[in-house]
């Protein structure tokens, strides 16, 4: 593809390992070149897709730095000869110059020859890399400085655990809503969202305008089932939740309480005492019985169990906080997990809300208890499906906010979330972590994350954490450091190469997803045409394409 019009420089040196260096063309204004751009290097037989990672000022001669040109004429004369700009670019993908339909860009294993032209990527280049938008490949933004769709391959996306990181105000919730919305619309997976702050149900407050943006239920209607532990919350003024959730004391395991140890104020001694109690009184019954005790009964228990009376008193006070959560009861009408499984089988997606009980304690307990049960059911179901040769269940994407609370290095090895993050893609169950504090997440879990969507992050430790286990960390780090709100770095399994995007406009997403306009409308039309064609060719017999 010789003679591109948007040439910005020429390759002069570099290596595959450390990246290539190009000299900026003299007629290009360096101030218009920003890092994170997609760059294409035209080799002899191949095109190299690269990321711009740095721009530097260079001089051929020390003397010019000591005696800089004094006037504008001299500055312009020396520009490009004695002073020049160098671009550091990282080759990522390679493809043949004129790719046919089957040629997908593959990771670059070599470098372009000397003096290959360096160009800005065009629309065709971007769509060659990220594919064209479609129902299973939705557009979620455009590369910075370009107006071309970048698409997320949902099929790959729901094969691994994924993460959306970013500090508050970076726009991660809005992006998460978009990703989940497309996931629901595409029916590639079932989503279960633990919605701590009530953002994924009917509507969510927009940070920019303060107005109410429509959220998943409003956009996708009956495909979404809302479960709540607080049916009387003002959240449900406009839409009734589908199910009220109650959790029996018997369902709470000590491991769940351990996970919430910080929130409950439990000490190590308290945890050991709980195990004593459970041994003595039975795993399902001890908690209800213990919380019912008054002071006299407690002193009797001290004698019976031979434990320190102060320790037991403290444990009682700590666990009494559970009584303030009205959805935890002694007796419950029916089993929430069964209901969730039924909904999942019916193909509905679940948003689990907390209403006014959005304390970390309630969130951790509920998310952990439910996920543990679901996990068991999913493992059994998948094993059964494999053994009997029927279809394995659709992937289940469990979305958790404040993920570091479930996956910090202290607890990640024991919790269900840790297990899911490490193993569960084999059982078609994956996580979508949404977090503003990735440094709190266990390294082993982070390295298992398939696709990372990273927004603005302030803390150096968080930035290092999100890059755990990725190649070209230096480059990506620079890109993350330069992100603005609503800009995201996308990297990992579902993307052929890392890319910095401006997130799609939420209003546009809403229009597309609720009215079925744009790409989704096209897809519906396409299927309709195929059905009509099928009807014409085969009559009214039931033959279904796709």
């Amino acid at each position: 593809m010789a003679g591109r019009s948007n040439k910005i420089g020429t390759i002069v040196s570099g290596s595959l390992l450390s990246g290539l260096e190009a000299k900026l063309a003299e007629d290009v204004n360096v101030e218009g070149i920003s890092i994170g751009r997609l760059i294409v290097v035209d080799g002899k037989d191949n095109k190299f897709f690269c990321l711009l990672k740095d721009v530097s000022l260079e001089a051929t001669n020390e003397d010019i730095l000591l005696n800089p040109p004094s006037d504008d004429f001299a500055r312009r004369v020396h520009a490009g000869v004695n002073t020049f700009y160098k671009l550091a670019i990282q080759p990522m993908l390679i493809t043949t110059q004129d790719p046919t339909g089957d040629d997908r860009p593959r990771p670059s294993t070599t470098v372009p020859p000397h003096f290959s032209p360096v160009c800005e990527a065009t629309e065709e280049d971007v769509s060659l890399i990220f594919g064209s938008p479609g129902i299973t490949n939705p557009e979620i933004g455009s590369p910075i400085f370009m107006d071309v769709p970048v698409c997320l391959n949902l099929e790959k996306f729901c094969k691994r655990s994924n993460a959306i990181f970013g500090k508050s105000g970076s726009g991660k919730s809005v992006l998460a809503r978009m990703v989940l919305g497309y996931l629901v619309k595409s029916d590639m997976a079932i989503t279960l969202i633990f919605d701590m702050h009530g953002e994924y149900g009917w509507s969510a407050t927009s940070e920019g305008t303060g107005s109410d943006d429509p959220s998943l239920r409003q956009l996708l209607g009956s495909k979404i089932a809302i479960f709540t532990v607080d049916p009387n919350s003002p959240l449900y003024m406009r839409v009734r939740p589908d199910y009220d959730v109650q959790i029996p004391y018997g369902a709470i395991e000590i491991a769940d309480l351990e996970l919430a140890a910080g929130e409950l104020g439990l000490t190590q001694a308290g945890i050991e005492t709980m195990y004593r109690l459970a041994d003595k009184w039975g795993e399902e019954k001890w908690l209800a019985r213990f919380l019912d005790m008054d002071t006299d009964e407690l002193s009797m228990a001290v004698e019976e169990l031979k434990v320190n009376d102060q320790a037991l008193g403290k444990l009682h006070r700590c666990l009494s906080r559970l009584k303030r959560l009205p959805f935890i009861r002694k007796e419950v009408a029916d089993d929430t997990v069964d209901r969730i499984m039924n909904e999942i089988q019916a193909g509905r997606h679940i948003v689990f809300q907390f209403g006014r009980y959005n304390s970390m304690l309630a969130y951790i307990l509920v998310a952990n208890i439910l996920t543990r049960r679901l996990h068991k059911l999913y493992v059994d179901k998948t094993d059964l499906a494999r053994a009997t040769g029927i279809d394995v269940p659709k992937p289940l994407v469990v979305t958790i906010e404040e993920a570091h609370k479930f996956l910090d290095p202290q607890v990640a090895r024991q919790t269900t979330f840790g297990t899911i993050a490490r193993e569960m893609r084999k059982y078609n169950m994956v996580l979508l972590l949404i977090d503003q504090r990735p440094s709190g997440i266990d390294d082993e879990i982070l390295s298992q994350v398939g696709t990372r969507i990273v927004g603005e992050l302030g803390d150096e430790r968080d930035i290092s954490a999100v890059l755990t286990g990725l190649p070209s960390q230096g480059t990506l780090k620079v890109l993350i450091n330069n992100l603005e709100p609503r800009q995201f770095l996308l990297t990992g399994f579902a993307l052929p190469m890392p890319v910095v995007i401006d997130a799609k406009d939420y209003d546009e997403f809403c229009r597309e997803i609720s009215l079925g306009s744009g790409i989704i409308q096209d897809e519906i039309e396409r299927r309709k045409t195929m059905d009509e064609l099928a009807a014409k060719v085969y009559g009214d017999d039931e033959i279904i394409f796709d």
Partner: protein
């Protein structure tokens, strides 16, 4: 053809010496000249002009009278003086094509020398390759010479700023290892613009 200005009296591969036809119109420093030799025009850049006694054993003497007045009163004195100029060879005309490199042989002695016309100056200064040639010659006032010739070419181009910019870049490129030299030439040509 413009009037001749001199005659070649000594030659080397890279330069020639010519004697001016008259004392009143010596060629300018940094100007382009053409020696017509065996049907092949050879181009030079004047880098040294001097006036001396025709007798190497006798030096001119001071009379304490203005030059014009002296020549009016004693016209024979002019007969004992000569103007000579040295030119660095920067190219030749190869059957209609101007080549900006050394000809196979220098102009022959007694060839006539003419000033270059406008078109020749434009052609010779098109790529400024000659500056590289003269930079390689020892003993030339290269900074002054390059600046003078570029100013002349600039004037022939009716003060085209784009040419001046291009020339400056060429200088910066040629002399990139000698930044101070390049800097002083660039300062000299930018004043002219």
């Amino acid at each position: 053809m413009a009037e001749r200005i001199g005659e070649v009296i000594q030659v080397y591969t890279t330069r020639f010496l010519a004697q001016s036809d008259d004392l009143s119109t010596p060629p300018h420093f940094g100007s382009f000249v053409r020696a017509e030799s065996q049907g092949m025009p050879i181009y030079g850049l004047v880098y040294n002009v001097y006036e001396a006694s025709i007798d190497p054993n006798r030096r001119a003497m001071a009379y304490g009278i203005e030059r014009e007045e002296l020549f009016r009163h004693q016209p024979q004195i002019a007969e004992f003086l000569k103007v000579e100029f040295e030119a660095a060879i920067i190219g030749f005309n190869d059957i209609g094509y101007i080549r900006a490199y050394l000809p196979p042989f220098p102009p022959r002695i007694h060839s006539f020398v003419y000033p270059c016309n406008r078109q020749e100056v434009l052609d010779l200064t098109e790529d400024l390759e000659f500056i590289r040639s003269i930079n390689a010659l020892p003993g030339l006032p290269i900074e002054e010479l390059a600046a003078a010739s570029i100013r002349l070419a600039y004037a022939e181009r009716e003060n085209d700023r784009a040419f001046l910019m291009r020339a400056g870049q060429e200088i910066a490129q040629l002399l990139k290892d000698e930044y101070e030299k390049a800097r002083s030439i660039i300062r000299r040509i930018s004043d002219g613009g």
